[in-house]
Symmetry: C2
Subunit: 585 residues, 2 copies
Amino acid sequence: MQYRMSELFLRTLRENPADAEVASHSLLIRAGYLRRAASGGYTWLPLGLMVLQKVTEIVREEMNKAGFQEVHFPALLPREPYEATNRWTEYGPALFRLQDRRGADYLLAPTHEEMFTLLVKDLYSSYKDLPLSLYQIQTKYRDEARPRAGLLRGREFIMKDSYSFDLDDEGLVVSYQKHRDAYQKVFERLVIDYVIVSAQSGAMGGSASEEFLAPADAGEDTYVETEGGAANVEAIQIKPAQSISITDLPAAQVHDTPDTATIEALVNFCNQNESLKRSNQWTAADTLKNVLMRLVSQDGTTSVLAIGIPGDREVDMRRLEAAVYPEIVTPFTDEDFAKYPTLVKGYIGPDALGIKSKSKIEYLVDPRVVSGTSWITGANRTGKHVFGLVMGRDFNPDGQIDVADVRIGDECVVPAGKVIRLARGIEVGHIFQLGRKYAQALDLKVLNENGEQVVVTMGSYGIGVTRAVAVIAEQHHDERGLRWPRTVTPADVHLVIAGKDEALAIAANQLADQLNAQRLSVLIDDRVGVSVGVKFNDAELIGIPTVVVIGKKYAEGLVEVRDRFTGAVDDVLLSELVAKVKQLH
Amino acid sequence: MQYRMSELFLRTLRENPADAEVASHSLLIRAGYLRRAASGGYTWLPLGLMVLQKVTEIVREEMNKAGFQEVHFPALLPREPYEATNRWTEYGPALFRLQDRRGADYLLAPTHEEMFTLLVKDLYSSYKDLPLSLYQIQTKYRDEARPRAGLLRGREFIMKDSYSFDLDDEGLVVSYQKHRDAYQKVFERLVIDYVIVSAQSGAMGGSASEEFLAPADAGEDTYVETEGGAANVEAIQIKPAQSISITDLPAAQVHDTPDTATIEALVNFCNQNESLKRSNQWTAADTLKNVLMRLVSQDGTTSVLAIGIPGDREVDMRRLEAAVYPEIVTPFTDEDFAKYPTLVKGYIGPDALGIKSKSKIEYLVDPRVVSGTSWITGANRTGKHVFGLVMGRDFNPDGQIDVADVRIGDECVVPAGKVIRLARGIEVGHIFQLGRKYAQALDLKVLNENGEQVVVTMGSYGIGVTRAVAVIAEQHHDERGLRWPRTVTPADVHLVIAGKDEALAIAANQLADQLNAQRLSVLIDDRVGVSVGVKFNDAELIGIPTVVVIGKKYAEGLVEVRDRFTGAVDDVLLSELVAKVKQLH
């Protein structure tokens, strides 16, 4: 294919769009790949669509190679199947709902678990039909509260979603691994740098789930890297501290600590008060902070949870939400305090907590709070703290909860080892052992070898296809513009005619034909009345990996080849150019 | 590619689905190409998606060859642009409307004129940028009152919609012709039999518009074929009758005709009454029927229209609606009659009609009612008709209106000649010179060569992509199943293993590899425990054009080749098979 800048539907922009927060968004708009059409909705211009189609085709090829079969569902779906799994309600305001002319309820599907389950139920009925993996590449809708960052968080986007169907758990593990392998091939071909992170804490169901995160500052996901692997913050497990011998520990003592309702105030007071001072300074890590939360269960009933963590840590809300799922976390208000007279705000101590205490509030502590550890903590009286309160001697919580913020140096069990790095990433893929939830809700069963009806077990697997384009742009650009990997570039060669001489244009056209003959596509900058400087700037912005300049040295039989990645500029004999470019691919 | 029936996600059905009214719907479901997912929404199964992807690719290739550039818009769009052109309201209940979480109005786009207009306005500003043709292949939504016939009238469907942008009318004519040519190439490659019919009467704006109709009994469009071309009923123009000399015509006479408020009763009465009888029987064609309609204009004001047509014709509502567009036709009720004391229901005659009459009702007549023609018509008194009322002598209407039903033998001006055939067709393409309506409403202007701002003129062009799949199925099937043209078949060869001998399976796999090496795709029926008869039935139902049977004669080095179109069965040497199949493509 040949495309001509003189005809291509394209305008490059010098300025960043006002609403662009991240590089991929800004560059894709400026280089003429995308235009905003609606809040969270983008129009693909010709160059952008070429990239999107290449990305789509790579995803499709790898799915087909893995033996997964492609189907295609409508996006506009009736309410009933989503009612059966309760997702019509559970999905909340993120679901686009509408009515047809007869007043029947419809939705714009955010994912298709229900429909795939029903389709397989419709066609298949025997263990002989399994295993089966189906996928689609389809437009999805999600009414995001805050669409942002261009393609990274939109309201209309393209996903590849797959679903596997197996007779038993062993089968599911095999299907899961096949998808994992296929995803790795996809991201390698897309030249996306990624980490696979364990995505889900045991509390959420225990089945395996991993995310493919593309490290990028623009990412919304935080993940943790240890010597033994990576995980998102919801999925890591901190190594519990070793318990210490209680023998010989001094007895606990209550001291006056006026106006110390915060950890900071408490630590300052301890370090300044003559009777409390010690040779090495007290720190927040010496204190035990008790945090209260109200939990709302799915049936609407509420309960209170007290969390004891070292005072130098904070409760990480994402970790807490994952740990108590499906219960929802809400704040513990002054009104709530009023219901518990034994709780003294700012001075709550372990004595007032626990299911056996007067308050009957469940009390769970951080894995660093183990038997033999000694703490400064609230004495349940205003202006008083207790010093040297020893766990296992002076108090016994109801259990452990691992929801403190994660820091470099923390020891993890999952993934094993010390935390080396906290980083941000963009979720570009997600693989998930769903289990029997949807099959159960929608009654998908098959006959097994013994003629018994068994519920099928499923996996679900997603790749953000439009998002992948943004991720590639995010990972491959510099201050001058985009830099497309050869697998997804809109054209293989950007051919700049640098001069007004008619001979240059003729030579450029011949060269383009020769490149085409080798199945290399060419974008020719044949614009008249546009300076060479502007052409070069546009070429850098557009980001085709190989730029060939046909200009001054053409008389000597030479063209200039610029590598958009390395920045290298070489003079090449015109007669050798095609072979040289072909070598790169 | 190789697909195996033992693994393919497919179940063929023996019975027609209950809701299938047309062959394409029934066969696509039975052969495992499609499943119903919602009212007017279908899921594409693997075989169906292969056909859809081939059809899509042919459309895309021909658009690209013609120099049109592909873009892609969201389907979920904000209300504002559609408000600016009044389509938000005009589209009525066929538009899916919804609100996002903030209560902002959105729609699921049925077509994208507004968005394309705004996009071009956004990027382009000079005559140098034109001509331009853009297209997309995209999912569209229309809340059909009665979704029916499977893919033929759905609520979610794929269209290719193009839009051309030109500086002037001459440019538009060129762009229109380029699309017309490209469409012909598309339908030829899809092996769709089609007629191009003139689609729009002058009353709707006068600019050219043509439909590509695929003749099929299942079609919803009626069109007319004459010696000189084809048109849909809204677009044809009947040749007005020649006026006749008025001299020597007998004077008009009023007669008593009790209980003759219908044409049938009137004609019977005339033929039975001794004083009215004549040698050749009176027929309905001798009478002039006056039909009243109420018209509602866009601003809501109403007016009355009287239409005089020969009594053997009916007013064709589609022709009338097109003729009075944008006014809307509503019935003339008894309540309306009460407002016009000079109108006697069942006995209305020309005397009571016309803008100069007491009623002031505009009176238009059929092109067959010309000067010198003589009629039996209402005498404006109950139970009385006037005989021999001569147009041009006894009455003069306000003008002509061509809205009677069309019949074989009618003489047309557009398209010229006698009506040969009335037929039904499926609209599979539509090309339309839009003109400046959208550019005006959304202020799309460019600078011309003289530096003046001029409004751009546009064309819009559509192909029903999912519908085209149904049309191909509709035009290419027999009582045993589908018959895909080679350009769109899901696989090139259907290879049936007809026997349990292991050697047959091995040979089939080798053959499939050899066919693949020649870029021919193969569906292998490798099912174990399925009879040869069932395999043959499935092969005929699925409709791959070449069926190769590897069975009994394999020992002699022969395979059987069945042509799904001709029904021919040939024994072919295994060694010659690949070359022979390749020849067909």
